[in-house]
Amino acid sequence: MMIGMQSVLPEVHIEQYEGPYDLLVELAKKEQVKLADISLKELTDSFLAYIKEYEINSEIIGSFLIVASTLLLIKARQMLPSVQSEEDEEVLHLRQRLAEYEKFREVSEALRTRWKLHELLPAHYFAEGEFSEPQNDDSMPDITSLSLAAALHNLIDRIPPAPQPSAHLTRRGRSLQEIFALFRDRLELANKLVFQETVHGSSRQDQALSFLAILEMARKNSVRLEQEDAFSTLTVHKL
């Protein structure tokens, strides 16, 4: 039975996930298993559905797409049997990273429950504001107004700058919906197209999304994919 993407998407919109690993851990949680014990294959659909459905902050979308492209490998194997089937290095790598990440996640959950529960206090903590008038004028140090301005300048200079979005991650790419539309339009005209030619010259991000789009269309039986072997030309036929 074909499961529609929406149905495998539980109430994820409640929270904005803080990163692709975070999302994967949460998706695994919904299956009530630890990430280490679930095959990534089982989470791929929900993960891809999430990034397709929800607007992800432009600063972190790049990280989601990197993971998406790895997960796409898994998905590609499902749909294109000609792609070699052994677990490739990239997927293995992702698994290992997730395993390490999950350890920190777990420990941070534990620390969160302790946060400010029984904190240690500095000296004079309760002393704020209990002051009388200054003792005498001598206590006033020598300060010039210029040194005051200099001190503030100094402080402003030290404030860490707001992060500049890095160009390779955040250059506004196309949304998955836009890419769907693009392929649909082209197929309307041509009935078939060669994937590699269509995405030629577009960013890695857009290529990953394009691949996701055609896999999704194949799944919904609106196209048929044809590929001789792993790295040969992929032809998309309109059905």
């Binding site: 004079h124 002393a127 200054p134 003792q135 300060i143 402003i156 404030i159």
Partner: protein
């Protein structure tokens, strides 16, 4: 050290000033005689350390011990007429951005400024503006302004641009 003595020591440490024995007895829900015994215990435990306990018939206070008095006097005299960089920065934030809450001062400096504010208040450089039911705000004192030879803050160098620094506004906005 008994648990009672530990609690008292922590109270004195966080109070940062002399505390009434009767007040401690009330907070800890014990007799004053027990407080006196516990104070003796604290005093013994601090033997030979850099911190000591001073007690009078009515009050107790943690202070630095006699053994380090000379060193501290020498060290503290150095910055008597000079403010540390941290103090200067705190003062500059308050001068240009005041009246301002401690929370906002902390945000701009990125560190807890309680002690700095206390120090500046003690030196008469600041005034605290208290409104019932609201957080205190701080501004520079009239005396300090006079000392700078000014009658109004607006006479501070670059006041117009620094007091409404976009940079700082954004920072405060972000952390709200």
């Amino acid at each position: 050290m008994t648990s009672l003595a530990q609690h008292i020591e922590a109270l004195l440490f966080t109070a940062g000033e002399a505390v009434l024995l009767s007040e401690m007895a009330q907070i800890l829900n014990v007799q004053e005689a027990e407080i006196v015994l516990a104070l003796q215990e604290i005093s013994n435990a601090l033997q030979g350390q850099g911190i000591a306990l001073v007690t009078t018939a009515t009050h107790a206070q943690l202070v630095t011990s006699q053994s380090v008095a000379e060193f501290l006097a020498q060290f503290l005299s150095q910055d008597d007429k000079e403010l540390s960089r941290a103090a200067m920065e705190t003062l500059s934030v308050i001068a240009y951005r005041g009246p301002i809450s401690r929370y906002d001062i902390d945000t701009i400096r990125g560190v807890d400024s309680r002690r700095m504010i206390r120090q500046l208040l003690l030196r008469g450089l600041l005034r605290q503006i208290r409104t019932a039911g609201q957080t205190s705000l701080y501004d520079i004192s009239e005396e300090f302004l006079m000392k700078l030879g000014m009658t109004n803050k607006k006479e501070l160098p670059e006041f117009a641009s620094l007091s409404i620094s976009e940079h700082l506004n954004r920072l405060l906005e972000e952390t709200k």
